[in-house]
């Protein structure tokens, strides 16, 4: 149609006009036909309204207009567990920063739900204090005063029906006074044990159901269960209350920024993908090390352990991103498809005794500080068999990765805080040098550093200056912080904004969660038959068992 009507005057502009007109025309026809089908009246008009809503394309938006930020529509956020650490240090400051960057709507509402007997004003002071203490962007009174108007506090316990009725009232008040239009997100910053209870209460008070044209979303943080069975049960409970598209599973260690950085590195470049396979890679090491102990999380951590806490979600997600094939697009569905594929191809070693390792930190010196062992931590049973260090070898049964072991390790009270993915390459098949020349040459490596100092390191050999021929390892380094912004948005800012915009792409889906448990369950089952995990001194890189595991394959853990 565009060809025949615009003829020789077919400039890009006139083309846009015709296509816009075509869209308008087709919208017209659909709403007309819906009128014809439904009896006239209030119902019919709302129906056609909904129809045209689907076809609404905002004329002020254009994909090539890259300057325009997306601002969340009218809504409020309800935080359960608002007095907790996560909320104080991350959620509240992230909300302030979003507001300060102008990405929250006018009339944004923030409701805290907690046990304390607070007035809205006391809650306000608490929020202000924490926002001021931890915000990333400068603290401005004007931004704060706008936010402050939308603050509410609801006092109560999770088993208190009256509290949820109050919450329901507060939410409708916000709809009325602040124009939040029935759009509300619920952030479950509470222990997973409480999820079912809170979900039930939300359902009972009618809060989980959205009215027409409005949305309700729920945000839950890991862990998603402690094995496949409980994960499914949790999913059943939550999806009986919220529909699946409204459930956002958050993995804040794996912020969208990090995921997109990995995707860009792998798929935007020519030079990495050709060697990203078993022909060149000898093995892959994925590490997430923490230098802290369990701190005040004894109640949560004991019985869960390092593998369930970290491997099931963070490390397996990182592994999936490293090992997956190129998605056909970066849309949520296509990305999930590739991750799911690779997760389903992961094989757990048959020889669990030799290819898994677990440890428990003992008394020792963490750098310059004397620290107690796990069994002496407050609130931990002296006979606890919970592991604070876990490592295992996994294989991927695909042509790309056949024969390449993936070693995953995580632990508390290790040498330092670091998360990285390292691809170690095979040695060159032939080295045209005297053997003395390459004695110091290690394997080439690509290291994707996730934290701290996010970036990429390449390690390769270079000649040592001087007359003798000698090759030694050197590093080439790229750091996001140095080449781009010094003040990149916090992961939580992006997470919260994505939820408010209803933009879920990179959150793990139920299927991914289930597949991950599938991988970990046999390992956990085996471990449960063993006694005490092998102790390791705090501040070191884990138990001897783990080093032996790699040595068996002729490999060594990197020293990150």
């Amino acid at each position: 149609m565009g060809n025949s009507s615009s003829g020789q005057s077919s400039t890009p502009d006139s083309e846009t006009k015709t296509s816009a007109a075509a869209v308008k025309a087709s919208t017209g026809t659909t709403s007309d036909s819906s009128h014809a089908l439904v009896t006239p009246g209030a119902d019919a008009s709302s129906q056609s309204g909904a129809q045209s809503d689907e076809h609404w394309s905002n004329p002020l938006r254009d994909p090539s207009d890259l300057r325009l930020p997306r601002i969340a529509g009218p809504c409020s956020l309800v935080i359960f567990g608002v007095t907790g650490d996560l909320s104080k240090k991350k959620l509240l400051p992230a909300i302030y920063d979003l507001a300060n960057r102008g990405l929250l709507p006018a009339g944004f509402g923030l409701i805290g739900f907690g046990r304390r007997d607070w007035s809205d004003e006391q809650f306000g002071n608490f929020v202000k204090e924490n926002m001021q203490a931890h915000c990333r962007t400068p603290f401005k009174e004007t931004t704060w005063s706008h936010l402050a108007k939308g603050l509410r506090f609801v006092q109560g316990n999770f088993d208190d029906e009256q509290a949820f009725t109050n919450l329901s009232k507060t939410v409708s008040e916000l709809d009325r006074d602040r124009g939040t239009m029935g759009n509300h997100a619920f952030y479950m910053s509470v222990p997973p044990k409480a999820f079912p209870e809170v979900s039930r209460q939300l359902a009972k008070s009618g809060l989980s159901h959205s009215t027409k044209g409005a949305w309700r979303r729920v945000i839950i943080e890991k862990p998603f269960g402690h094995d496949l069975k409980s994960a499914k049960e949790l999913d059943r409970v939550i999806s009986s209350v919220f529909d699946p598209e409204s459930v956002f599973r958050i993995d804040h260690y794996l912020g969208k920024e990090t995921v997109q950085n990995i995707l860009a590195l792998r798929f935007a470049n020519m030079m990495f993908e050709p060697v990203w396979n078993a022909n060149y890679v000898s093995h892959v090491q994925i590490t997430m090390a923490e230098d802290i102990g369990i701190g005040g999380r004894a109640g949560y951590y004991d019985g869960i352990g390092a593998a369930r806490d970290v491997i099931q979600n963070h490390l397996l997600q990182l592994m999936a991103l490293t090992a997956m094939e190129e998605p056909v697009s970066f849309s949520a569905a296509d990305l999930t498809a590739e991750k799911t594929k690779v997760l389903s191809a992961i094989r757990v070693p048959k020889d669990l005794e030799h290819y898994t390792a677990r440890g428990q930190y003992a008394d020792g010196w963490q750098g310059s500080e004397k620290v107690v062992g796990y069994l002496n931590e407050k609130g931990i049973d002296k006979t606890s068999t919970t592991e604070t260090y876990a490592a295992l070898r996994l294989d991927v049964d695909t042509r790309r990765w056949a024969g390449v072991p993936f070693y995953l390790r995580t632990g508390k009270r290790l040498g330092k805080r670091v998360t990285e993915i390292a691809l170690e390459f095979k040695r060159a098949p032939h080295l045209p040098f005297e053997t003395t020349a390459t004695r110091e040459l290690g394997a080439n490596a690509i290291v994707i550093r996730i934290q701290p100092d996010e970036g990429v390191t390449l390690r390769f050999g270079a000649k040592v200056p001087g007359t003798a021929m000698e090759v030694r390892d050197v590093s080439m380094d790229f750091s996001y912080g140095r080449s781009f912004t010094e003040s990149s948005p916090e992961a939580y800012e992006r997470l919260i904004l994505d939820v408010l915009l209803g933009d879920p792409p990179l959150f793990p889906t139920t299927e991914e969660v289930n597949l991950s448990w599938n991988i970990l369950d046999p390992v956990e089952e085996y471990w449960s038959t063993l006694g005490q995990p092998q102790p390791y001194a705090s501040g070191t890189w884990g138990p001897a068992q783990s080093d032996e595991m790699l040595e068996r394959d002729g490999n060594h853990w990197r020293l990150p």
Binding site: A106, T142, T143, F484, T485
Partner: protein, 310 residues
């Protein structure tokens, strides 16, 4: 740290920078671009302050060429200054003061000092060249940022810019609008999703961003847009969109307040924080994307004529 080099050469400057990098244990590889700034000594410090702020987001090497116009009849000579560390944001600053014949080939003057294999951005904070793409420095830049609003005669400057526009040029009058545009777009994201039938923009007389905002609305909405400009107003003060059911939604900001009011039929007016944009924010936004801005192109080439300007 500030090192002054009078009566110097570009190779002396290069080796000074190299030595300083070595001494200070820094690497220059992190610089993602070179920013060329054409300015005068009166504006130099404030301009560099802005550039320093922006460099925290985009580590760059800044090369400021000072008073080239003023000194073109002097004897040829080059004075320079190199700034590092606390005096230079997240990069380094080279200030060049060319005299005489040197002012006639500024391009070859800066070529030895550019960051290798990195884009070049040219910024004219006040004076606007007639044709940025033909300017000696502008020609080698991948992006050319002008600021007609701060030129001695903004309207004449912008007329010239429009006449000589090329796809790599952007004027900061456009950058100043982004918050307004974002709010307007966010407003139309919300139901009721009814077509807009007319629009009105209010603001200060002879203030370019007002005209550009109106032109953008005209291009995007394909509806009549009226301009309502008063000398008593300051900057942009409002956008009013009339929908097909003749309800009006508006965004207003008066008296340089830090907030805007959003008004919709059937709902309470809502305040939202919207402080005036600073020059640093505008410059950072410009450096964030170095590809041609197609929307801006459409606005100044097509939209501009759809509006009755003052």
């Amino acid at each position: 740290m500030i090192v002054t080099l009078s009566q110097t050469t570009t190779s002396a400057i290069s080796s000074k920078i190299e030595n300083l990098h070595k001494e200070r244990g820094e690497v220059a590889l992190g610089r993602v671009l070179t920013m060329l700034i054409c300015t005068t000594s009166d504006n130099l410090e404030s301009t560099l302050e802005t550039a320093n702020e922006a460099s925290r987001e985009h580590p760059c090497r800044v090369i400021a060429i000072v008073d080239a116009e003023r000194n073109k009849h002097e004897d040829p000579r080059l004075d320079a200054q190199v700034r590092f560390g606390a005096d230079a944001g997240a990069g380094e600053i080279i200030i060049l003061k060319p005299y005489g014949n040197l002012t006639r080939h500024l391009d070859t003057l800066v070529i030895p000092l550019l960051v290798p294999d990195a884009p070049v951005v040219a910024w004219w904070p006040t004076r606007v060249p007639e044709d940025p793409s033909k300017d000696a420095l502008g020609a080698m830049a991948r992006n050319r940022i002008t600021d007609a609003l701060r030129a001695p005669n903004p309207e004449a400057a912008f007329t010239a810019l429009r006449a000589h526009w090329s796809s790599q040029d952007v004027d900061m009058s456009w950058t100043r609008l982004t918050r307004w545009r974002a709010l307007a777009a966010a407003l139309l994201d919300q139901p009721p999703h009814l077509a807009v039938v007319s629009a009105r923009v209010t603001g200060q007389s002879h203030y370019l961003p007002v005209d550009l905002l109106a032109a953008w609305l005209a291009v995007r909405l394909e509806v009549p847009v009226t301009l309502d400009q008063k000398t008593s107003e300051h900057a942009i003060t409002g956008i009013y969109l009339t929908r097909e059911d003749s309800s009006v939604v508006s965004i207003e900001r008066h008296n340089d307040e830090d907030q805007a009011m959003i008004t919709q039929a059937g709902a309470q007016a809502q305040a939202i924080a919207m402080p005036m944009r600073t020059l640093e924010e505008c410059l950072s936004e410009e450096l964030r994307r170095l590809d041609p801005d197609e929307i801006y192109a459409e606005v100044i080439n097509r939209g501009w004529g759809m509006i009755d300007h003052d």
